[in-house]
Assembly symmetry: C2
Homo-oligomer: 202 residues x 2
């Protein structure tokens, strides 16, 4: 059986990444999603084990010490990270797995998993990025400016990614990601089995 | 406007490559096909300019001398080759183009076009390869054995290709190739324009 493949997906605020991932998982129910471990309090509407596992600071620090994380970050006193074991299990069981992570986390994972394929989700234009960030509601101007600065900071690092998917029309973007996943499995190294099978019979 | 992309497609006798390409071009009428120049006589049913341009030995030798071919080969006294100019024009006009060529031709093209993406079409199994080669009709045993030897010789060089598409079920194989074409256009280097557009506005 072929092993699964790790796909890293990043995208700034305003890229529409979250909605895109929901649609991707609807279209590809066999895809696995890497659940992050985090130490902040659960927010209203969040469910343990859906997108996050909520764990204590001590438990998180133990994972750091024991090298059980593919990447982690500390933000406003809370830890966020990607546990290594479930990703390894998915890949060994032949499942493709999506790790949703920011540009810093993506860089850490690339160091550890050289075969990971990374995809950056882009807003279709600067005007649309601005519209999406401003259009979120009645938030303070400073908060919007902070988000815009952070988004542009991430976009400047899009060159670290293998693929860029522009999220203008969501169905197109979902199909783009599905094409990337499908084509990666057709790479020579992932198809060596069939060639060996034919050649060993002759 | 983004440039087009060159895709090299090879596959041995028995891979079902010809039928697959017919279906691919039906599904993707915007794809261009590289027409080979050849010096052998036209066979019944062949049309000038469809799959081949039929030219004289002198005209072919002039193309060799003037470096106007991406690849060429001489087989039983006849020349076969891929003219450079139409491929360059298609790419510059933004069209993706398919060059159907054998493993030797593919190696020559890779040397000249470093960005070309190459796809090898495989039969699904040794048993099926055998069935397809034997099943062609009432041909002599020696001819079948020669074809099998040639097919296995090509399969041994499948490792020179970026992607392997197994042609068991034809619709699946067509979709595989479409995924490869689509995903190649999402490569970071082909998407740089959109990133520059967003960043230059900020």
């Amino acid at each position: 059986m072929n092993k699964g493949q790790v796909f890293i997906i990043s995208g700034p605020s305003g890229s529409g990444k979250d909605t895109l991932l929901v649609e991707l998982f609807k279209a590809c129910p066999e895809l696995k999603f890497s659940i992050s471990s985090i130490t902040r309090d659960m927010r209203e509407g969040e469910v343990e084990g859906a997108k996050y596992n909520f764990i204590s600071q001590d438990a998180f620090k133990k994972m750091i010490v024991e090298n059980e994380l593919l990447e982690y970050n500390c933000y406003v006193g809370n830890y966020y990270g990607t546990p290594k074991a479930p990703v390894e299990k998915a890949v060994n069981d032949g499942f493709d797995i999506i790790i949703e992570v920011d540009v810093n986390g993506a860089a850490q994972i690339r160091e550890k998993l050289k075969n990971a394929i990374s995809i950056f989700i882009m807003p279709p234009s600067f005007a649309e990025l601005e519209r999406r960030l401003v259009g979120r509601g009645t938030e303070a101007k400073e908060l919007i400016e902070k988000r815009m600065k952070s988004a542009l900071g991430e976009i400047k690092r899009a060159n670290e990614y293998d693929y860029i998917v522009v999220n203008g029309e969501i169905d197109t973007a979902v199909q783009d990601i599905i094409s990337i996943i499908r084509s990666c499995k057709l790479n020579f190294k992932n198809q060596k089995n069939i060639i060996d099978e034919v050649l060993e019979k002759c």
